[in-house]
């Protein structure tokens, strides 16, 4: 018998997971499917981790509205879901007198978009607030509502809270096509079987065009991935304690120098439009571009302290803005299309998609209400997702208490980031089980330090194999096909 749901969400990125969490507040069965072996494997995996204030999107676009509304929802979200979020504000830095007018343009946009707490600072004040900044700084827009977060933690916490409230999450489950009844979608076919549902929500990110085309919606819509590359610095050596944007150009918001909630300074991204949605490679030219861009803001950076490079893809769409008179062709799509029934269609949710995600989820609920859904809040809905212990963030005194309580937290597996066996085991058996190396890495931050997993990898493979009851040969980095090990070595007769 086919499982029957009220809402199926396609895609386990931050947008899909926050929608799942938001829908789990209401009566009805919720299923989220993700084609990869973990959540956050697409755009959410590799971005700048910034909760944008909202001065950047063009006024009167859906992007601008979602960004500003979404930004305001993050304190409550972080408070309920217990993930790291710091509203530390951000700077758009003008270098040289010629860049100063751009700040006025942004200030005007900030006013039109309704962004609170923006001010233009003179050059000396910017230098006072960030001592490493270029001496050529001429001023900066300071947006006090800008924030930083850990996108993995946000996404996993939202999905976990959804599961706590009765939603289901199926990993390694890939959408193939819709099951239709006339013009009504009644379910989906996947590689893991068919699932029926009254509503299907497209949160497929880079693949949102494919999903909507399967529903016969917006055949002209196309996602063009915009690749962005990044450098990560060792936090022991480089500490830029601010979020610094250059003035934006036609290529986007430009190369940032920013801190993260883990204390590492990161640089990036550039913006290269590509065709291959799987191509998250770093390139020589890309790395040169971000290095040059970052040095414009902080001239003292040294490549000696780079501990990681990575690249991510933003799902840039080509949907025209619906507001009359606004000429903009990469707006968000958040709609219940007229062509089919039972379909909530999202598309083109690129940056500032992370910041917008809670507002997008609310918008989805509003659309469902408009479509006649009652959206009755569950009596036993619990918005709180408890945090699990993070040894690396604890005082020595608290560490002792934790280890006394559960000695598995006494065994450090990742020496650079101080991640313990207890934390790894907890993630393997969490509501959204972490069953790959990368899944554990994203949740615990293990392997992200200066040795980049050199020490912990053999040990994590062992722990995963033991906890999952499988051979170490079956343990993967990021899902099937990414096994670490091929076979046992030759046997030696004693």
């Amino acid at each position: 018998m086919q499982e029957k749901y009220d809402y199926i969400i396609i895609g386990g990125g931050v947008v899909g997971c926050i929608i799942a969490r938001t829908l789990s507040r209401y009566e009805g069965r919720v299923l989220l499917i993700e084609k990869e072996a973990d959540l956050c494997m697409g755009t959410t995996a590799a971005n700048t981790a910034i909760v944008h204030a909202g001065y950047d999107p063009l006024p009167n676009t859906l992007k601008a509205r979602m960004n500003v509304a979404g930004n305001a929802m993050w304190d409550a979200l972080a408070g309920e879901l217990n993930f790291a979020f710091e509203r530390r504000g951000d700077f758009v830095v003008a270098v040289g007198e010629e860049e100063l007018p751009a700040l006025d343009t942004l200030m005007l946009q900030a006013k039109k978009n309704g962004v609170p707490g923006c001010v233009i600072l003179p050059g000396p004040e910017v230098r006072r607030r960030e001592k490493n900044i270029t001496p050529d700084v001429s001023g900066a827009l300071w947006a006090s509502t800008g924030g930083i977060c850990d996108p993995f933690a946000v996404t996993v916490a939202a999905a976990e809270n959804a599961v706590m409230n009765g939603a289901e999450v199926k990993l390694n489950t890939e959408f193939k096509e819709f099951i239709m009844e006339g013009d009504r979608i009644i379910g989906i076919k996947t590689n893991k079987g068919d699932f029926l549902s009254r509503w299907v929500i497209n949160a497929a990110g880079l693949f949102s065009d494919f999903v909507m085309h399967q529903a016969g919606v917006r055949p002209e819509f196309k996602i063009r991935p915009r690749k962005g590359e990044y450098f990560v610095f060792d936090r022991a050596d480089v500490e830029i304690d601010n979020v610094l944007f250059p003035v934006p150009s036609d290529k986007g918001k430009g190369v940032l120098v920013t801190t993260t909630v883990h204390g590492n300074t990161i640089l990036g991204p550039n913006a290269e439009i590509i065709d291959d949605k799987e191509n998250s490679s770093t390139t020589i030219s890309g790395m040169e571009e971000i290095w040059a861009g970052a040095n414009k803001l902080i001239p003292s950076l040294s490549k000696k302290y780079v501990i990681a490079t990575f690249a991510g893809l933003r799902p840039m769409g080509n949907a025209p803005c619906k507001t009359p008179g606004v000429n903009y062709n990469a707006d968000y799509i958040i709609e219940i299309p007229e062509e089919v029934r039972g379909f909530v269609n999202l598309g083109g949710i690129e940056s500032p998609g992370l910041a917008s995600s809670p507002a997008i989820a609310k918008e989805v609920v509003d659309l469902l209400k408009d479509a006649g859904e009652e959206m009755k809040v569950k009596k036993d809905y619990d918005p709180i997702r408890p945090a699990r212990p993070r040894f690396r963030e604890m005082s020595q005194k608290d560490r002792k208490l934790l280890v006394d309580m559960d000695p598995r937290y006494g065994r450090v597996i990742c020496r650079c980031e101080n991640v313990t066996e207890g934390e790894i085991i907890a993630e393997i058996h969490a509501p959204i089980p972490a069953i790959t190396y990368d899944a554990i890495k994203r949740r615990t931050w293990l392997g992200t330090g200066r040795c980049q997993g050199g020490f912990d990898t053999p040990r994590v493979v062992d722990i995963l194999a033991r906890e999952l009851g499988v051979s170490p040969l079956e343990i993967t980095k990021r899902g099937e096909g990414s096994e670490f090990l091929f076979r046992p070595t030759k046997k030696v007769e004693n």
Partner: protein, 425 residues
């Protein structure tokens, strides 16, 4: 569990440097010596170095790594070195307090009179040399691959390209070939070998594994697992030479591109590092800028032979023992003054040996219970009486005293503690 919370010499790491330091510290007179090792066995990286080539300098023998380690493990145990295994040092303070954690022993603190840093080194990674491309499984540092093969008994790849002509890389080329893998080639960006020539001959030449100088990896292909690497020739300034690209199908890329002293704990302890070596500045006894903190082996600078690490460990161990014993002697300058029979407390609580010169010392105390009769107030060292006085009574409400005179000082100086008693007469 540990016998005590303060040790003469604590050594972090049980590789060749750490074990040598432990042995040398014991031999130099340190009484309590502790080695802390984060792995489950003593020996450090020597345990995964199952190839020979160890011991030529010290033993005039050609030993495999584990056998070399075993000689020092045995000697440490004979000398009574204590060890903590599967235990990590989380933090070291400049005052040589260590915060330590383990699954077996829990979380605790250890004080070291002297400390030897012997954490060794770590391998440079893909990110440090910024190889572009995808980030699939199958990119390993040579040492991690060595652990998989030699400790875990599992093969991390079948068709392998190695970047860098470091020793571990060349040794792994041979090791993987023994295990039936195909090593396609070894690439070195420099125009010369970065490891030992003997390893080139014995590990590459003897197995017909090509080594290409002035070559590097331009791109890593493969979404889930490495599918190929693109190699490229470089000029003298490491610029890629267009047209020299080759696409080499493989499932594994091993990196042997250098080692870096591992000094995160050193930094926390305030140890100053030399930007040229990446390790602490040390003096001839291997003492760092922080008094009582010594460093030995690859944590100071990267050696190519374990024997030399051992020799550096000896120096550090000796230096640490000397420092610890001097400190221990200075700690014993203070003679505790204890409250004995019917005495509630005594002030001062300790007497510094160095002040036992001309001035008399008055010990002030209160009794616990009243005695309305003649009492004897006595100071003794547990065996012999040092001073005494008679009093007509003793009452808790009235402070009492007894004075140590210069003539008593010789006896006081010999005592490990002195006690004040009040007895009925």
């Amino acid at each position: 569990m540990l016998k005590k919370d303060t040790y003469d010499v604590v050594i972090i790491g049980s590789g060749p440097g750490g074990l040598a330091a432990a042995v040398a510290a014991k031999k130099a007179g340190a009484e309590d010596v502790l080695v802390i090792e984060r792995d489950t066995e003593l020996g450090g990286i020597l345990l995964q170095c199952i190839h020979n080539g160890f011991g030529a300098e010290i033993f005039k023998e050609d030993l495999p790594g584990p056998s070399y380690a075993q000689r020092y493990i045995d000697e440490s145990i004979e000398l009574g070195v204590e060890t903590l295994l599967d235990t990590i040092v989380l933090e070291v303070t400049p005052g040589r307090k260590l915060y330590v954690s383990s699954r077996q022993h829990g979380f605790f603190e250890i004080n070291a009179r002297a400390l030897v840093l012997a954490m060794g080194c770590r391998e440079r990674t893909r990110a440090m040399i910024q190889i572009p491309g995808m980030r699939p499984a199958g990119v390993y540092t040579a040492g991690t691959a060595q652990r998989f093969v030699n400790i875990e008994g599992k093969m991390p790849g079948e068709k392998v390209v190695i970047l860098g002509s470091g020793d571990i890389g060349m040794i792994m080329a041979r090791r993987l070939t023994f295990e039936g893998a195909k090593v396609e080639r070894v690439l070195e960006i420099l125009p010369f070998l970065s490891g030992l020539n003997r390893n080139y001959v014995q590990c590459l030449q003897d197995f017909d594994i090509p080594l290409l100088f002035k070559h590097t990896v331009k791109f890593i292909h493969g979404k889930n697992r490495v599918e190929a690497v693109e190699t490229v020739a470089v000029d003298d300034k490491w610029n890629h030479i267009p047209g020299s690209e080759e696409y080499i199908p493989c499932d594994t890329l091993l990196l042997s591109v250098g080692l870096i002293p591992e000094n995160e704990l050193s930094r926390q302890a305030g140890v100053e590092l030399d930007p040229l070596t990446g390790g602490p500045y040390v003096d001839e006894s291997r003492q760092t800028n922080v008094p009582g903190i010594f460093a030995a082996g690859n944590v100071v600078h990267v050696y190519d032979l374990a024997d030399w690490v051992t020799l550096a460990g000896y120096e550090a161990g000796k230096g640490a023992a000397k420092f610890a014993m001097a400190l221990r002697a200075s700690e014993e300058v203070h003679i505790p003054v204890l409250a004995g029979n019917n005495v509630h407390h005594v002030v001062p609580q300790t007497i510094n040996k160095r002040s036992l010169e001309d001035e008399e010392i008055e010990l002030q105390f209160r009794v616990r219970m009243p005695v309305e009769d003649r009492v004897m107030i006595e100071v003794h060292d547990g065996k012999n009486q040092i001073a005494r006085r008679l009093a007509r009574y003793a009452r808790p409400g009235e402070m009492n005293t007894i004075t140590l005179k210069p003539k008593n000082f010789a006896d006081v100086e010999k005592a490990s503690s002195i006690t004040v008693d009040v007895h009925p007469r």
